[in-house]
Symmetry: C2
Amino acid sequence: MRIGELADQAGVSVRSLRYYEQQGLLDSTRTPGGQRIYEEGAVERVQLIQQLYAAGLPSHAIVDLLPCVSTGMVTGSMYDKIRHERDAIDQRIRELAAARDKLDGVIEHVLRVGIHHDGQ
Amino acid sequence: MRIGELADQAGVSVRSLRYYEQQGLLDSTRTPGGQRIYEEGAVERVQLIQQLYAAGLPSHAIVDLLPCVSTGMVTGSMYDKIRHERDAIDQRIRELAAARDKLDGVIEHVLRVGIHHDGQ
DNA sequence: CTAGAACCTGACATTGGCGTCAGAGACAAG
DNA sequence: CTTGTCTCTGACGCCAATGTCAGGTTCTAG
């Protein structure tokens, strides 16, 4: 599959795919003319990359973790890193939940007390 | 209180406080000489700003929401925005949880099967 | 064979929150 | 008044992921 098709199927831009490759997150073979060719599995790999990006992991961390996550092969230091990133995500979830609860507080307050117009 | 003290108490940099002011998130009075003076409540306001930033809200969204969150005064359109941001945060939490579960899967796998050395 | 679509590399632009530096003014304490 | 610390503004830098543009090459359909 060529880069445009992978981009469509994975829902990311062509630019991003080239960037992922540059970061060592994704590899491809090339046609004799130099165009990138991907295997089927690339779609899921890209989606996994997106998911880890969405979790706020910087690309160098993803470079470290990806081999483990996709193959289940883990060395000791990798294992520590995974646990560390996991905990960081967990922490982040707690912060987000706190912020959400703050907004919920406002929403509930409004439901109890009603809308206060204030101009606008 | 002056800017350095506020920075200390709120746990952010002086630079950030000036930036918040520029974004319309924080206000101050000035001494005749032009130095910023903050009231006591500023500490909590800054912490709230930090919390919303941590939740991934861009500053313009925080500008919109802050008046409501801190005063409980809400107009109809503001209410919609709050609900919208709340839902966005909730969505983000779910994404993070999915990523965390992925890592947990690897961790569990390792605990079951053991560490695979693979070079390194 | 040829037109047009898709692709290539390389480079510069952007966004956001903040670090950091320079040069100048403010202010508290002695 | 002086000195040292704090503050001021303005500007540039940074990082990371991506957009975008230019100028050229490759592939595919007719």
